[in-house]
């Protein structure tokens, strides 16, 4: 059997080191002029795909991103890491605000079918909306088995053995290929793209598509009512002595007086 064809989702999100600011009208967060990077869990998925290729388990790794034109940078990063080619499903910034996991899942499913993909590898969730839905929905749409929250992936004959961290221990599942898998934090530590690979990535092919090309119309299925800052933590109080502390706790009724 020839190597697997792997499709990896690479979402462009606000860099996790950036302090998030909510828009004054509470419709979302400020994204203009804010540093973006690849969703860290997608980066882990990409790393895993490249490792599969290095072990000759995978034959081709395709990176895909749905979003505004700037997603090209994210895809170049993916190709600098080692993806062979990329597909940008371009959505204009205004429409992008309406894109939800179901739309992305439909697009990914279609691309997977068109490209004869054996394994769709995604991050378990994106750090911007924390939806944790796209992988599961993609599997459902394709009617493929799913292995989510992978912390270890092994290929056995025609099957994938995936270990995931659950309450109280580890769970091992095996799925038949083709399948969808999503990456958890400890699956691997993503590499830094080296300079020669960054340069090579500039010459790798990138297809530009529209959601319409995959028969997907961006109509939101649910509505965001409002986005708010988390409540600010009340400042603590410094007490001079243990007696003060005991007193205070008694006053608050936290210990019997």
């Amino acid at each position: 059997m020839s190597g697997l064809r792997v499709l990896v989702g690479c979402k462009r999100v606000i860099d996790y080191a950036v302090k998030i600011r909510v828009k004054p009208d509470k419709t979302g967060v400020v994204t203009d002029g804010v540093k973006h990077s690849m969703n860290p869990f997608d980066e882990i998925a990409m790393e895993e795909a490249i490792r599969l290729k290095e072990k000759s388990i995978a034959s081709e790794v395709i990176a895909v991103s749905c979003g505004p034109p700037q997603c090209q940078e994210t895809l170049r990063t993916a190709m600098a890491m080692g993806a062979d080619k990329a597909i940008l499903v371009e959505v204009d910034p205004a429409t992008y605000e309406k894109v939800q996991p179901l739309h992305v899942a439909k697009i990914l499913a279609k691309i997977a079918q068109e490209n004869k993909i054996d394994l769709v590898l995604l991050g378990k969730q994106a750090i911007d909306d924390d939806c944790n839905q796209t992988g599961q929905m993609t599997a459902a749409l394709l009617d493929w088995p799913q292995a989510t929250f992978a912390s270890k992936i092994e290929k056995t004959d025609g099957e994938l053995k995936v270990v995931k961290e659950i309450d109280g221990g580890l769970e091992t599942v095996t799925v038949k290929l083709p399948a969808v898998a999503t990456a958890d934090l400890r699956l691997n530590e993503p590499r830094y793209a080296t300079l020669p690979n960054i340069m090579k990535a500039k010459k790798k092919p990138m297809d530009k598509k529209k959601p319409g090309d995959y028969g997907v119309e961006i109509v939101p299925t649910h509505k965001v009512i409002k986005v708010e800052d988390p409540p600010t933590r009340q400042a603590g109080q410094k007490l001079e002595t243990v007696d003060d502390l005991v007193h205070k706790l008694k006053d608050q009724g936290l210990i019997p007086s």
């Binding site: 994106a126 944790n132 590499r191 080296t194």
Partner: protein
């Protein structure tokens, strides 16, 4: 091992609720040991005993100062009520330097909030003949900010008011106890940046930065504090307030007295406030890490980098392979590129990401093609930029894990720059755990560090005065940016002429006739 514990907690909590915010989890799991934690984590690292300075240096004589009495404490209680600390366990951290190499035996810590309180304290100490030591974040590297004997410690911790920020001129006015990182965050909100940046930014105070004329990684771009400080307010040893708080860029009216306080290491008075010119914060930052085979290769890259990056270059740092091994072994930070004898870190900061990236990739492509760089990576994402910077910025912390660190910070002509590390390594064969070289190669500033499991007089005798003689022969400076403090004051003549030191002594006598301001520091003992 606090850090490990936190990681475990984070992992467990994430396991419980796999759907909790991915961002929050990543921040928790990956940002540990960020510069902000540097200070505390290193302190907690070892509770090993630090010798009293007076015991380690038995020839040292206490100056003719008064000894603290209960009546003094009562008087201070009147000046800074509730902010007089005499509890020995609380004083311990203030008596010991960050490197855990010197320890004083002060019985008193004062925490003033205002210039008036500082003036009242100094006036009292002056009358009584009590010696004092000013202290900021206590991140100094030459034993300059801790007492040698029983000097009264005056901490700027509570003098942390940001007074004003003029967004048009970029002038920041603040009290001396503001933490550098806090100031940088504050001016960052207006699109400005502090003109200096250093590894200890999460703990160090701006007053201490000024008093030691701190350098750091951005000096290459923004120049020294002598240029960016517009005004200083200081309290003289007599208690008199010296107001040089100009906010003007140009002011040629007589001697520029504030300059004297920059780099005075607390020997002329206590800086209480300053006005600082803040440059525009670059909106686009990129960092490249390159590997190269020889030190000459580092210099060739530097030349080429200046030519091609010119105005957007913010930092050019180098570290040798021993430094990379150190950070890997002691802090478990991994090297993102292949092993090389030398590494170069280049940072650019500009106003247009696309332009800067184009310039930077042009440079990098050229370096790779010509074989000047053996390997490398380029980061434009904040997370990766921080990760690469921590390889360089956390070296000082990594060194402490070896035990005792003999720290040297010298300026050298670039032609002789790395030879010093090679010579020292040869000389210390078998007498040191490691000898590492890194630093601000763009400024001709080498950080040479030697470690051993504990303080060894034999190792010390092999290093000093050999290293200072070596540097003097090359017409270098024995202290590029750390100052002289307690540990290097007797080597001042290696870098300054007799006439210069004589004038320094005269100035000191004029400003501080009783010698109560940070005694045993900066000026030579003889």
């Amino acid at each position: 091992m606090t850090a490990t514990y936190i990681v475990k907690t984070a992992i467990i909590s994430c396991l419980r609720t796999p759907l909790r915010s991915g961002k929050a989890f990543l921040l928790q799991a990956r940002c540990l040991g960020h510069a902000k934690h540097l200070h505390t984590s290193a302190k907690r690292q070892k509770s090993a005993h630090v010798d009293l300075t007076s015991e380690r240096y038995p020839k040292l004589q206490r100056g003719p100062f008064a000894t603290l009495t209960d009546a003094d404490v009562t008087s201070f209680e009147r000046i800074v009520s509730g902010r007089v600390i005499t509890e020995p366990s609380e004083l311990d951290g203030y008596n010991t330097d960050w490197l855990r190499t010197v320890r004083g035996s002060s019985k008193l810590l004062l925490r003033p909030k205002t210039t008036e309180e500082v003036a009242a304290i100094l006036s009292y100490c002056h009358d009584r003949g009590l010696a004092v030591v000013p202290q900021g974040g206590n991140t100094g590297l030459v034993g300059g900010s801790v007492p040698v004997f029983d000097e009264v410690i005056i901490s700027t911790h509570l003098m942390n008011n940001i007074i004003s920020l003029d967004e048009v001129s970029g002038t920041l006015v603040c009290q001396a106890g503001c933490v550098l990182a806090t100031l940088d965050d504050h001016v960052g909100q207006c699109g400005l940046t502090m003109p200096l940046d250093l590894g200890a930014k999460g703990s160090c105070h701006i007053g201490g930065n000024l008093a030691t004329n701190a350098g750091g990684v951005r000096l290459l771009r923004y120049g020294s504090l002598h240029g960016s400080v517009l005004g200083i307010e200081a309290v003289l040893p007599s208690g008199e307030v010296l107001d040089c708080m100009s906010t003007l860029r140009k002011d040629n009216t007589g001697y520029d007295l504030k300059q004297m306080f920059i780099g005075s290491e607390g020997t002329l008075g206590i800086i209480t406030a300053a006005s600082i010119l803040c440059p525009q914060r670059p909106s686009a930052v990129s960092v490249a890490l390159l590997g190269c085979k020889t030190f000459q290769g580092v210099l060739d890259i530097f030349k080429q980098t200046k030519r091609q990056l010119g105005e957007i270059l913010t930092a050019f740092e180098f570290m040798d392979t021993a430094s990379m091994e150190l950070i890997g072994e002691n802090l478990r930070l991994s090297n993102p590129i292949g092993a090389s004898p030398f590494y170069v870190l280049i940072e650019t900061g500009g106003s247009n990401q696309a332009h800067d990236e184009e310039k930077l990739s042009g440079l990098l492509e050229g370096l790779m093609e010509k074989g000047m760089a053996a390997d490398g990576t380029l980061a434009t994402e904040m997370t990766k930029i921080q990760a690469i910077w921590s390889l360089r910025e956390r070296l000082a912390e990594a060194l402490l894990h070896d035990g005792y660190c003999y720290k040297y910070d010298v300026s050298l002509p670039l032609s002789a720059f790395y030879q010093l590390v090679i010579d020292m390594r040869q000389r210390l064969e078998g007498a040191a755990t490691r000898v590492v070289g890194y630093g601000h190669v763009g400024d001709g500033n080498l950080h040479l560090n030697v470690t051993s499991p504990e303080y060894s007089q034999r190792t010390m005798d092999l290093i000093e005065p050999f290293i200072y003689d070596w540097v003097a022969k090359q017409k270098g400076s024995i202290s590029a940016e750390h100052g002289l403090g307690f540990k290097k004051r007797d080597f001042i003549y290696h870098s300054k002429s007799t006439s210069a030191v004589t004038l320094m002594k005269q100035i000191k006598n004029l400003v501080d006739p009783k010698g109560i301001m940070n005694p045993y520091k900066l000026l030579p003992s003889k």
